[in-house]
Symmetry: C2
Subunit: 156 residues, 2 copies
């Protein structure tokens, strides 16, 4: 077993990129990528290799959780950037993220449920071929029902 910082003796709170990759289940290339996007950060050792604090594992875990929800990396980056600057994030900080993303998740679920409710009636029957179907013609719904009442988003 070669080149493994902290495999015995060094600093157990400092991880190489490969160690982070193994422990987080995220590829090294993806970690590089996240770093270029500002989602995580590292310092370099004397040889120019990345070194991460152990806390990066939680950060990566949060990133992955957010991705499963369907949040794009750019938004995850924004959310993470809003974490406190000096101190390390507390449970309350993470909770704020969770709340934020939970709302997003609720919304997505809600949209899919509404879509489901209309799917059977709309594709199977003849209404899809006419302008009056909510499944077919989201714009009309929006136009007729005013703001806040639209069933489906164009941006969906």
């Amino acid at each position: 077993m070669p080149a493994e910082p902290s495999s015995r003796g060094h600093n157990r709170d400092v991880l190489s990129v490969g160690q982070v990759a193994r422990r987080s289940g995220v590829a090294v290339s993806a970690l590089h990528f996240y770093e270029t996007k500002g989602l995580i950060s590292s310092w370099r050792n004397s040889g120019g290799q990345r070194r991460f604090p152990r806390s990066v594992l939680r950060r990566v875990a949060v990133i992955k959780a957010a991705q499963r929800i369907g949040i794009p990396l750019s938004e995850i980056a924004d959310a993470l950037a809003a974490l406190p600057d000096g101190r390390s994030p507390t449970a309350a900080d993470w909770q704020r993220l969770s709340d934020q993303w939970r709302a997003n998740l609720d919304e997505r679920i809600d949209k899919l449920v509404k879509l489901r409710d209309h799917l059977d009636g709309c594709i199977g029957c003849g209404c899809l071929s006419l302008e009056s179907c909510p499944l077919r013609n989201p714009e009309d719904i929006a136009a007729n029902a005013g703001p806040g009442a639209r069933l489906f988003d164009q941006t969906d």
Copy 2:
């Protein structure tokens, strides 16, 4: 008002690509794209311009509905290709598609709901930093609980 086949006189059941675009809310370029992917098809008039049967509108509507559900175009193409060859699709044909996609939709909703159920407990608390959290470590769940019991898909 220029170049508009069937705007008066010709064949009301035959549409130009621009007419399809206006009636379906899909850009001309997207219709071209769909055609290259085999999702829709057309014949050409003497001048080489695309002509569509009116039925393409329903097809496009179904494509859009499926996309809102989250089905990739390749799968939509497969599903549409499975429609009867000679005759035009009946309500029962569309119903089969609807059933198929509804199952997919149910599954997606289910996954998101499970994710939601774990989000509060997992990001907010300390468990995310340890190997035992289902939100953090889906692989472990899969490994420990055997097939069929995993909470989250890697491919999600």
